[in-house]
Symmetry: C2
Subunit: 346 residues, 2 copies
């Protein structure tokens, strides 16, 4: 490896700073490359239909812990998180490719379980596994999935096109997966200290299920098509509501007002969060792994959106100069930060 005189720590840039740095000089060469890096997925023109493509890399010990993640669930989730990126472009996923690296600690039966989950997701969402690569790893389980989808020309929805006055909307409910993770991490710690203690997860099926077996919001994309709705911007929530809202604000050059009391949080999530003495709103804002869709809609579509119980209107977009703010239940106004809001941290 070549030695450098200068050394900049990657951690100094953060994930998005790093992506920006690495991709700042890209000039697209093919007329078919309609949207490149910087959104949930890329868009490629194919003479009549447009193709959406997105890749995720999942590493053991970073993205999943096999101590409490059944391999079948892992296979299912690995597919779902990629499909979620395709839906977030308002597209329909059609194919996936999967590359896996496995060490010799995995048996064929273990790998079969993983693929059972992969195929279950493919069947559920109607996508085809069309290719891949299987290789040995020295250590740990490596999963690389690419999803391909189709979208009617110019119906794809980017993050960068929200307008002032648009409604800010979210599907489903938020924060559950994060609380599910807290339970599993707690039980893992107890198990490592006292292997004979049985895990105590009774009544937490909802939040744990949301972590281990998330679903992508195919139904929302179908609802948009049925109702001839086209969001003005959209992305999926993988890092937490506040971080994703800031992406839309920055990329669209708008501000927003978010109402805490409008953020959808399931009763199961609230009661689970209380057991850890944490604020359910903080779980929704900065927990992540919800795989719900965050989108903006023109106000003229208020009625159509409001009639769908799976969608919550949680705020509206403002001018960029007004910044991104949350109005708390108590009526006070705070700036939204990537970790939740100021001054109350997680």
């Amino acid at each position: 490896m070549k030695m450098n005189n200068e050394r900049t720590e990657i951690s100094d840039l953060g994930e998005f700073g790093l992506i920006g740095h690495l991709t700042k000089n890209i000039e697209l060469q093919n007329v078919s490359s309609l949207v490149g890096v910087g959104d949930d997925a890329a868009v490629i023109d194919h003479f009549g239909k447009q193709t959406v493509v997105t890749t995720d890399l999942l590493l053991e010990g970073v993205h999943f812990d096999l101590m409490y993640t059944p391999l079948k669930h892992l296979g299912y989730k690995s597919v779902v998180v990629n499909l979620s990126d395709v839906y977030a472009m308002n597209a329909t996923p059609t194919q996936i490719t999967i590359g896996i690296g496995i060490s010799n600690r995995f048996s064929l039966e273990a790998l079969d379980e993983f693929y059972e989950g992969v195929y279950a997701a493919c069947n559920h969402y109607g996508v085809d596994l069309v290719g891949g690569d299987t290789t040995t790893s020295q250590k740990g389980f490596v999963i690389a999935i690419t999803a391909i989808g189709e979208v009617t020309p110019d119906k794809f929805v980017k993050r960068s096109t929200a307008k002032k006055g648009d409604l800010l909307c979210v599907s489903g409910d938020l924060g559950a997966a994060y609380v599910g993770l807290l339970f599993l991490e707690r039980e893992k710690k107890i198990f490592l200290e006292s292997p004979k203690v049985q895990p105590d997860l009774e009544g937490e099926a909802y939040v744990i299920g949301r972590l281990l077996k998330p679903e992508a919001r195919k139904d929302i994309i179908e609802f948009f098509a049925e109702q001839s709705l086209l969001p003005s911007s959209m992305m999926d929530i993988s890092d937490g509501l506040s971080s994703e809202i800031l992406h839309i604000c920055k990329d669209s050059e708008v501000g927003c007002v978010l109402y805490e009391d409008k953020i959808p949080i399931a009763e199961e999530t609230r009661s689970a969060a209380f057991k850890f003495e944490i604020d359910p709103t903080a779980c929704a804002l900065s927990g992540g792994e919800d795989y719900e869709l965050l989108f903006t809609m023109p106000q003229s579509d208020y009625e159509k959106i409001n009639n769908n119980p799976a969608i919550s209107i949680i705020g509206y977009m403002t001018e960029a100069g007004e910044g991104a703010h949350i109005i708390t239940k108590g009526g006070s106004r705070h700036e939204i930060t990537a970790q939740g809001w100021n001054p109350i941290g997680k």
Copy 2:
């Protein structure tokens, strides 16, 4: 992790056995999925054009050794090996996505070097980097690349369509990358034992260059288009000539006769192989990492093919029952095996 009562070691199946096992129950659901797993790349129909997609996963310590692989070369090669799979379908690559996992031992400058190589390859081959994923790894460098390409409808070329009587052809020359690897591994060993000894690689630029900076055969695909040639089957040579020939024979249900004296081997490769006292033919048959194209052509195209100095006709296809054989320079006939031929091992 769920424990299984049965345990089958993955190594018992081998790579191709494993892929076959994991994909045996796939039923393609989308009419747009024309070719699925089992070829260099998948083919997807897009109403007028067809899309080719392929994924590779490259892991440090398994696929590359950073002790003698400059990061810029690694970036270049990571792209090239994927594009090679697209060309092997007779398609033109147009986009790539790249997922990387990096540990904190890599600085930003190191990552920049890697991406310099990625962008150099993108520019050279006219493809766009349109997306990806950047993540932390606990250990080692992980690279996942997906390449997408276009092909005129029904001009894609699979491995499974060679016919009895077809000419067996290969581009460029073979075996060099393997000998290059032997040199680098030898110098690494010497360096680890005596760090002050300077590496002795003089005169071996060709074979080392073929390992560290391979090129994909874009020119051959362009030649086919100019000459209105369509191979009856094709794949790229990543695992070694003999292994790839057996793939074509098995998938196309044909046999073949290969002539040892027709296998193209560069003078630099021959003289380098002699320094290690190994047979240059063995390097070509089972070395791998050549990224040349192996293809079959109807005999009626003999003249067109024979006029291209970048292509060698190395044999012909026979009936499946006749098996796959090599005629050595001495005139004897041996069965081709994935590791070279019987009974002479490598």
